[in-house]
């Protein structure tokens, strides 16, 4: 346990020295400032807005704006997770940082698990903090609160943990730059799948919706994000609900327990592949 905690600290100190936290903190402050400004102006004149029949303007504005914040939260969390893990194995091995650690009687699996725990230990509180700060901004500016408070935040945090696991797996095979590009592309592919699903939903194309759903499950980061979006308006019905399902940066579909179970299984599969590959890798 001491060795795992030592590696956790080592990884976090490295991130601190490389100013990863400083960059993410600045980006976060910039985002929250702009988000507050956006909320302020969006809700300022809401009483004068005449929405189409059947749409509740406050619910629509609140959930749409907060949905945008959830995407930004996910994106920032993903950036943090990727920068903490992209060079964990091959990148560090090529720089000669990994070998002195691997020859210690810690075990390669412990090394990888420690890097994952360190990343999750930073990213999960970060995602939850930004999520609740955004919710507070929207709630205080627009007097709108999500139907589910905690679950969507946890799902965003879980999605970021999945990205961290994928990035660690990628780091076993790819150089830091290649891994960073690959993981951002996977994240982008999930996003595109969500947008395709939205288009399919708007056009009532079941084929497109099905393809998007399969893609979202192949990359459950997207499925978790969609479920989190769906959860914030879980009790909303009617036209407002239909429009909200077209949500920002991908549809808001409730996947429920199946998505969460699949995400856990997916994490297990990624972890198993990463640990096996790292155990067999020549350094």
């Amino acid at each position: 346990m001491t060795a795992i905690w030592t590696i956790v600290r080592y990884g976090l100190e490295e991130a601190l020295r490389r100013k990863v936290f400083a960059v993410v903190l600045l980006l976060t402050l910039g985002f929250l400032g702009l988000f507050w400004l956006g909320n302020h102006y969006a809700f300022k004149d809401l009483s004068g807005v005449q929405p189409p029949a059947g749409i509740d303007a406050r619910t629509f504005a609140g959930s749409f704006i907060f949905g945008l914040a959830m995407f930004a939260t996910l994106f920032l969390g993903v950036v943090l997770a990727i920068f903490l893990t992209i060079g964990a194995v091959r990148g560090d091995a090529e720089r000669g940082l990994l070998q002195p650690l691997v020859v210690r009687p810690v075990g390669r699996s412990s090394l990888l698990v420690a890097r994952f725990l360190g990343t999750v230990g930073v990213c999960v509180p970060y995602v939850l903090a930004v999520y609740f700060a955004s919710m507070g901004i929207t709630g205080s500016a627009g007097h709108w609160w999500p139907d589910r408070i905690v679950t969507p935040g946890l799902e965003l945090a879980a999605a970021v943990a999945l990205v961290a696991a994928l990035s660690l797996l990628g780091s076993v095979f790819l150089t830091a730059t290649a891994n960073g590009i690959a993981i951002f592309m996977v994240f982008g592919a999930g996003l595109v799948a969500g947008l395709l699903g939205t288009i399919g939903h708007a056009l009532s194309s079941h084929t497109l919706e099905r393809a998007a759903k399969i893609a979202a499950y192949v990359i459950p980061v997207e499925a978790l994000y969609q479920d989190a979006l769906g959860q914030i308006t879980a009790d909303t019905r009617g036209v407002t609900r239909f429009v909200l399902e077209l949500g920002p940066f991908g549809g808001a579909y409730i996947g429920g327990t199946a998505v969460r179970l699949w995400a856990v299984a997916y994490l297990g599969i990624v972890a198993a592949v990463a640990l096996t590959a790292f155990a067999r890798r020549d350094l």
Partner: protein, 279 residues
């Protein structure tokens, strides 16, 4: 117990055979030099011994435990040819990190002793990024010694050192041998290997082409006799021919001032073994 035992070790990278059935042993308290040109398989052998690389065939054990196992890793210290410590760590912090990872209970006194051993006591709080390459290399050696390993695997430990630094390391290796620590030294510096190693193994194209003590490997290169008429060299003569040659010269009325039996240096042995392969 044998500190390192390697038998029939083979490693293939794609189509390239890095090692082809290498046998090697490092006994307790023994200092063995590993020589060979670049690409001979020296680093691959060392990496297999410390579990960084998996062999294609054969076996390697460290103090009786399979190479790469936790028991094996507990028994060894390793300095990689290309290594780096986080630049923001001080020398003391690097050693502390490795104490924690190796489970060493030596504490601050062990760190102080190791830094003294490699002449870095005054640089205890200096950050790695502010150290010269030579200082970093000496810190690397100190790191390898954390936890008092029974086997030390050193891959080019003196490549970045100046003559004084090399001497420090040479003296350190000799003191380690005195304490019963076994060392496998992979180096290009033949004179250094010749000075400190009990035995030498020369690799070429992944196979052992010569092995033995420096004395065993040294070949007779003639007898040189200094006379009143100048120095005479008998290139085909051997050590046992020397008394007869002296008798003949004395009988012929020559005065003898000195006799030396010429043997090949390790460098000559090495060049003969590798057949002109560049390092």
């Amino acid at each position: 117990m044998t500190a390192l035992a390697v038998s029939g070790l083979a490693k293939r990278y794609g189509r390239v055979d890095a090692l082809r059935g290498v046998d090697l042993e490092v006994g307790e308290g023994e200092l063995v030099g590993l020589l060979g040109p670049n690409g001979a398989g020296k680093s691959t052998l060392v990496k297999i011994a410390c579990g960084l690389v998996r062999p294609t065939a054969g076996a390697a054990t460290v103090c009786g435990a399979p190479a790469g196992s936790r028991d094996a890793l507990r028994s060894l210290g390793y300095l990689a040819e290309l290594f780096r410590f986080p630049g923001w760590y001080s020398a003391d912090e690097v050693l502390l990190l490795h104490q924690r990872l190796s489970g060493s209970t030596g504490g601050a006194s062990e760190r102080t002793r190791l830094l003294e051993l490699v002449a870095l006591r005054d640089a205890r709080d200096r950050r790695v990024e502010a150290m010269s390459k030579g200082m970093q290399q000496r810190l690397g050696i100190a790191q390898a010694l954390v936890g008092e390993p029974r086997l030390l695997l050193l891959d080019e430990p003196t490549s970045a050192l100046d003559p004084v630094g090399r001497r420090t390391v040479r003296e350190l290796l000799e003191s380690l041998r005195g304490r019963g620590i076994s060392v496998l030294l992979n180096s290009h510096l033949l004179s250094e290997v010749e000075l400190v190693c009990d035995r030498v193994t020369i690799l070429l194209d992944g196979a052992v082409v010569a092995a033995g003590t420096p004395a065993e490997l040294a070949q007779a290169r003639g007898v040189e006799i200094e006379t009143d008429e100048g120095t005479r060299v008998y290139e085909d003569a051997r050590r046992e021919d020397a008394p007869r040659l002296v008798e003949e010269l004395v009988a012929a009325g020559r005065k003898i001032y000195g006799v030396s039996v010429r043997t090949s240096t390790l460098e000559e042995v090495y060049l003969d073994a590798v057949g002109g392969e560049t390092s």
